[in-house]
């Protein structure tokens, strides 16, 4: 029987048996539900309180709770224990490149000369910061073979927007307003068609369902006479984890028709230090610094999505850019310096803190380390592919690049779905792979191990996946429907969340 320990001096009611706190497992309350105090958790210098030159009566209340520092630390530390992270274990999230985040990068971004400078300071007082950006531009140009670099886009999707706007600006400048259509394979990230639409382009979809690849034939059909074709948005390696075999030929045809090749750089980790996208015909691409170059994902941002382009497209890049004069003085290039620029895409100079981290990572690895990165990443994925190909259906033939694609086809007959596999992985102490993407494969499971896993860690994943497949095939897969059972939460009622949105407390 539950007992309420409630006294006059202790008005809070505790039902000790019913509450969920056990050993190291805590249920953490909503911030506002904690016992409040009568002062702030920050000690500030005293104020007069009566001075007001705002022209408006001062606000009386904000609705924030008053809590002390120990309460705040405990609240957020307890919340942190409910999260899975790379530092916990294997995180094979396809297309997301969840690699180790070196802490040196964090330390460097916090140097006072980087953290505490303002984007509008006189240029002579921030030469070091501009030097970092210039050096990062140079690394990206050399790694992609594309000499024009703009660092300002804030994330991958923002980089896509920048890249397509560059193509639009070029076409407008050349008077080619009739080129209003972008070719996009159906395996593309959802951001690709969304970006094309935002920039006012029509989308013509190319099917890749048969082979998982963009075939020369399908491309020629979609291109037609090429008259209206502004360009194509292609991810290479593509979202099925395959390098587009015909990409060199395809880009030649596109160029001959006056179109431009936008490459989604989400999968650059398979190429870095080994393959320069310029060499397979790319005109403009974005790079996810938070994927290939190890800046932390932070539970969903901040990302950083610089774009790189050819000499021909460089005049249209978004401002600001960083230039260097003959005497070695770094300068922020703005509208007056770049008359053909497509304009500004965000405030100030971009995710500079991420630029420092990415450069720190590049310097650490060097040209030799980065080449090893792509080699190890591709090796790890192929190793997984070779070990699981008899247990899980592999939709497309051939070697994979840095991620291996499987489907639920062989499990479905046993009543087990991709979602079940994902939730079973959680139960066995791992983060799931990317599921139900790409859309061209029914029940897709996209596995990206990255280069920062040990063979032992990869072998355990393979063992868990084989175990799941075996249980399914033995007719014992029903148990998965209730998984996870050991996580901080069981499966959530997502329909309820959407039908009756409660978005704040």
């Amino acid at each position: 029987m539950a007992v309420d320990y409630k006294t006059d001096s202790n008005p809070t009611k505790f039902d000790v048996e019913a509450d969920q706190n056990r050993a190291l497992h805590y249920e953490e309350k909503f911030l506002w539900d904690h016992q409040q105090t009568d002062h702030s958790g920050v000690d500030l210098p005293a104020v007069d309180g009566s001075i007001n030159k705002t022209g408006i009566t001062a606000r009386a209340a904000t609705g924030l709770p008053n809590l002390s520092e120990p309460q705040i630390l405990r609240h957020f530390v307890r919340l942190s224990t409910l999260n899975y992270s790379i530092d916990h274990g294997f995180f094979p999230l396809g297309s997301c490149t969840m690699k180790h985040n070196p802490r040196l990068n964090e330390k460097m971004a916090r140097l006072p000369g980087f953290a505490h400078i303002h984007p509008l300071q006189p240029e002579q007082t921030v030469q070091g910061a501009l030097g970092v950006m210039y050096e990062l531009q140079d690394w990206l140009a050399q790694l992609t073979g594309l000499p024009g670099v703009a660092l300002s886009p804030a994330a991958g999707a923002h980089g896509e927007y920048a890249g397509i706007m560059v193509i639009r600006a070029k076409l407008r400048d050349a008077g080619m307003h009739h080129k209003d259509t972008l070719l996009i394979p159906d395996s593309a990230h959802g951001t690709n068609p969304a970006t094309a639409a935002m920039c006012g382009f029509k989308v013509k979809t190319i099917s890749t369902k048969e082979t998982g690849r963009l075939t020369l034939e399908a491309f020629k059909d979609a291109l037609g006479d090429g008259e209206n074709i502004a360009g194509m948005m292609v991810t290479n390696p593509n979202t099925c984890g395959l390098f587009e075999r015909d990409i060199v030929e395809i880009s030649k045809l596109l160029h001959a028709a006056g179109g431009y090749f936008y490459c989604d750089g989400a999968n650059f980790n398979a190429l870095v230090g080994r393959i320069k996208p310029a060499d397979f015909g790319v005109d403009v691409m974005h790079i996810n610094l938070h994927k290939t170059f190890s800046t932390p994902h932070g539970g969903g941002g901040p990302g950083s999505g610089p774009i790189c382009c050819t000499e021909e497209l460089a005049p249209y890049l978004p401002i600001p850019l960083v230039g260097k004069s003959d005497d070695g003085f770094y300068k922020l290039l703005r509208k007056d310096d770049c008359p053909k620029t497509l304009g500004r895409l965000r405030g100030f100079n971009g995710q500079f803190g991420m630029h420092v981290r990415a450069l720190s990572y590049m310097l650490s690895h060097g040209n030799d380390g980065l080449r090893q990165v792509s080699g190890d990443a591709v090796l790890a994925a192929n190793y997984i592919l070779s070990q699981l190909k008899d247990d899980y259906h592999v939709p497309f033939e051939g070697r994979c690049m840095h991620e291996a694609l499987f489907s639920e086809k062989w499990l479905k007959d046993h009543g087990v779905t991709t979602l079940d596999v994902a939730k079973a992985l959680i139960e066995f102490g791992m983060h799931p792979m990317t599921v139900y993407f790409p859309l061209v494969v029914s029940g897709a499971m996209l596995v990206e191990p990255t280069e920062t896993e040990t063979k032992e860690s990869i072998d355990r994943f393979i063992a868990v996946m084989k175990h799941i497949a075996e249980l399914a095939k033995n007719g014992e897969g029903d148990i998965f429907h209730s998984y996870p059972i050991s996580a901080p939460r069981k499966r959530l009622d997502e329909v309820l969340a959407a039908r009756n949105p409660i978005l704040n407390g």
Binding site: A58, L82, D87, A154, A197, G298, F348, I426
Partner: protein, 422 residues
């Protein structure tokens, strides 16, 4: 290489299991013309941790930073103090190295933080709902304008007062060429946009703008670049959309990013909102739980019909904001706002007393415009050579100048001394 765990033996074993004789064989789909057999010769080889640190510290030391200089620059990015606990929390692996919370059973920490962040923003702005954050204030404003167009099915916006020039440039890029108009000459107005305090530091009153928006059948969009002002100025609850920049709480200036776009609006427009949303629900055991929701607005479902191409937020920045704001609480946040205002009032009083300097603003929160006896850009450069970051030069002799809780009496005296001896 310290970040790569595989040994030579591991690589050999894995290649052999994969049935490939070498790494090049794994890249069999890549034609020779696109594959480099050698290292890129013009890039350097790997460096030790010590060497990387030395390389970057040299760059860092070339900058004049606000930790070491009297500092009076604002204009959309502000030099505020960040409590030590904030950086400790955001560097916890469980937050720093987590992904977007798409697997909610093992991401309740991040999700509850987002829910608390949304709650804070909704309360501070006086709006019904807020999203999980956007890239920065400028892109949040662009998204607000696009959303107003979707809601009203109209095509133009009015920028009604002096907004941050970077925000205006960003807006121009995002909107169609002729979409920004000066006045209500058109019946096609989707939104009236005002910044408060405006770019020159003057707080706005909202009632007149509300009436004007209603008369035009437009939404009222309020953009806020100094969120600490909301600890003293009234919540813009008359607006339809409130968006802006949250950098002042929890985030260093960091040369312009990463910062924190916030976005809030009325319930009626919820399904037209851009960006991620976290909602409350229950799990199979009926426990309160949090999950990303209403994703049918988003690109991964809607593709070319999505409300925006955005597929991220500024997660860790929103965490820093939430921790700092939780530490401040209602009493601390309002005191911090009052403190900023009082420092600015003291600075204005001191500057007014200098011969040849006049304060333009009749009202302000923590920044204002002064006129100098000579060209402002020249003055800023002269003072920079003395290690003082004096503010943002505007046209001619005008200087935009800011004070925060970090602006000490001694800093003001150094500035006054330097300006007096021009």
């Amino acid at each position: 290489m310290r970040y790569l765990p595989l040994s030579a033996q591991d690589r050999e074993d894995m290649l052999s299991t994969s049935g490939a004789k070498n790494i090049r064989a794994l890249y069999e789909d890549v034609p020779d013309s696109a594959y480099n057999d050698a290292l890129i010769p013009t890039l350097p080889a790997h460096k030790t941790e010590m060497a990387v640190e030395k390389h970057l510290v040299r760059y860092s030391n070339q900058n004049i930073d606000a930790a070491h200089a009297p500092f009076f620059l604002g204009a959309g990015v502000y030099n505020h103090h960040i409590p030590a606990s904030v950086d400790y929390v955001i560097q916890r692996s469980e937050f720093l190295t987590a992904y977007t919370p798409y697997q909610p059973e093992i991401a309740q920490g991040t999700l509850q933080v987002i829910y608390e962040f949304q709650t804070m923003i909704a309360k501070l702005t006086g709006q019904d709902v807020a999203n999980a954050s956007l890239y920065d204030g400028a892109t949040a404003l662009a998204e607000a304008a696009l959303m107003a167009m979707r809601v009203t099915r109209k095509n133009k916006v009015i920028i009604a007062n002096d907004i941050n020039p970077d925000y205006q440039e960003t807006l121009s890029t995002y909107l169609k060429d002729d979409a920004i108009v000066d006045a209500d000459t058109s019946d096609d107005i989707a939104a009236i946009i005002i910044q408060s305090p405006d770019f020159y530091g003057r707080p706005e009153k909202y009632l007149a703008w509300r009436k004007k928006a209603d008369a035009l059948g437009a939404l009222l969009v309020v953009v806020i670049t100094e969120i600490i002002s909301l600890g003293m100025l009234p919540a813009p609850d008359m607006a339809d959309i409130v968006c802006g920049e949250g950098q002042s709480i929890g985030l260093p200036m960091s040369f312009g990013g990463p910062h924190l776009g916030f976005f809030a609006c009325r319930n009626d427009y919820l399904r037209q909102m851009p960006g991620r949303l976290c909602g409350k629900t229950v799990d199979a055991d009926g426990k309160d739980s949090y999950v990303l929701t209403l994703s049918t607005r988003e690109q991964h479902i809607r593709r070319d019909k999505a409300t925006s191409n955005i597929c991220t937020n500024q997660g860790l920045c929103a965490l820093a904001f939430t921790v700092h704001m939780a530490l401040l609480g209602d009493l601390g946040f309002r005191q911090l706002a009052q403190l900023n205002h009082e420092r600015a009032v003291m600075l204005a009083d001191k500057l007014s007393a200098v011969k040849g300097i006049a304060v333009e603003n009749e009202t302000f929160f923590n920044e204002f415009v002064i006129t100098l006896p000579e060209n402002a850009e020249k003055v800023v450069n002269t003072l920079a050579a003395q290690g003082i970051i004096a503010g943002l030069p505007l046209n001619d002799n005008r200087l935009l100048i800011c004070a925060t809780e970090k602006t000490e009496d001694a800093d003001m005296d150094i500035l006054i001394e330097a300006l007096s001896t021009l």
